[in-house]
């Protein structure tokens, strides 16, 4: 069975999305949740690049991927800063403990 590189890339993208989705469900540490989000964004980028190459418009995909990378980095930075502040004030990074906070 000879699969084209695009099919393989799409399979890899679906696998990465599944792993990121599983990480979002399983992880309780705030920083690890940001890592799971990073994996999801990498999957989206991989799909974008494969689709751009398949359509013959790789430059359009690149310009879109640049925006995705910038937004992804901002999300990671904000998530990390939130995690550091929550750790300083609450003393834990466990999202289950955070959801129990009242007031």
């Amino acid at each position: 069975m000879n699969l084209s590189p695009f099919i393989i890339a799409f399979v890899g993208m679906i696998g990465l999305l599944g792993i990121g989705f599983y990480g979002l469900m399983v992880c309780r540490n705030l920083i690890k949740i940001v890592i799971a989000l990073q994996i999801l964004v990498k999957a989206a980028l991989l799909g974008l690049m494969a689709a751009g190459n398949l359509n013959g418009q790789i430059n359009l995909s690149q310009s879109m991927a640049l925006t995705v990378i910038v937004a992804d980095t901002i999300v990671a930075v904000m998530g990390i800063a939130l995690g550091v502040q929550i750790r300083r004030r609450v003393g834990t990074l466990d999202v289950r403990e955070l959801s129990r906070l009242k007031g």
Binding site: A9, G12, I19, I35, I39, L60, I74
Partner: protein
């Protein structure tokens, strides 16, 4: 063959990033996954994105993760997830199957070469100029948000310090009043 092995390595790295016990190990697996992704982007002909992904995704974000983990500490949380682990695996598998069913083409795919592919500079600066403005706004808002989040909050004056400041003000007020009354008496 190269793409297949790279995809397999990327998937293994991503799984290790989720399953690793320590946060620092997880961040390093994520950096490896980003590096593998950038090689894949390069093989797909996206050289610019490959370079940016390698420098930003595998470099800057990893440095930020390591910094945050060293500041916040590597918490060892107990491994029991909020939903049961079996349910999570089942849901993720269902998600993968549904997504594969919807987006994977049933017939063979081949690259389309008839579409005109304009140069990157034209696409980036002319056709997608609005994206660049959005990126600049995103970067500024991110920096401002980061400054706001990481700013040290000044604690409110505690009761003893507030009392001391009040006593000092009262003393100054009394001194001023006595000076005024003295000047009025000498004037008479």
């Amino acid at each position: 063959m190269a793409i297949t092995s790279l995809i397999v390595v990327t998937l293994i790295f991503a799984l290790q990033a989720i399953l690793a016990k320590q946060l620092i190990t997880s961040a390093l697996w994520l950096a490896g996954m980003s590096a593998m992704c950038s090689v894949l982007f390069f093989l797909f002909g996206a050289q610019l994105v490959a370079v940016i992904e390698l420098s930003v995704g595998a470099g800057l974000v990893t440095v930020l993760f390591v910094f945050a983990i060293s500041v916040a500490g590597d918490d060892a949380l107990d491994a029991t997830p909020v939903p049961p682990r079996l349910l999570s695996v089942g849901l993720a598998a269902l998600f993968i199957l549904l997504l594969g069913w919807f987006i994977l083409p049933t017939s063979g795919t081949s690259p389309v070469s008839a579409i005109i592919n304009p140069p990157l500079a034209k696409v980036l600066w002319q056709e997608r100029g609005l994206d660049l403005i959005v990126q600049v706004v995103l970067i500024f808002s991110g920096v401002l948000g980061l400054l706001g989040l990481l700013a040290e909050v000044k604690p409110p004056l505690d009761a003893t310090m507030a009392g001391e400041v009040g006593a000092l003000r009262q003393r100054d007020l009394h001194t001023l009043e006595s000076q005024i009354s003295n000047s009025q008496e000498t004037g008479k």
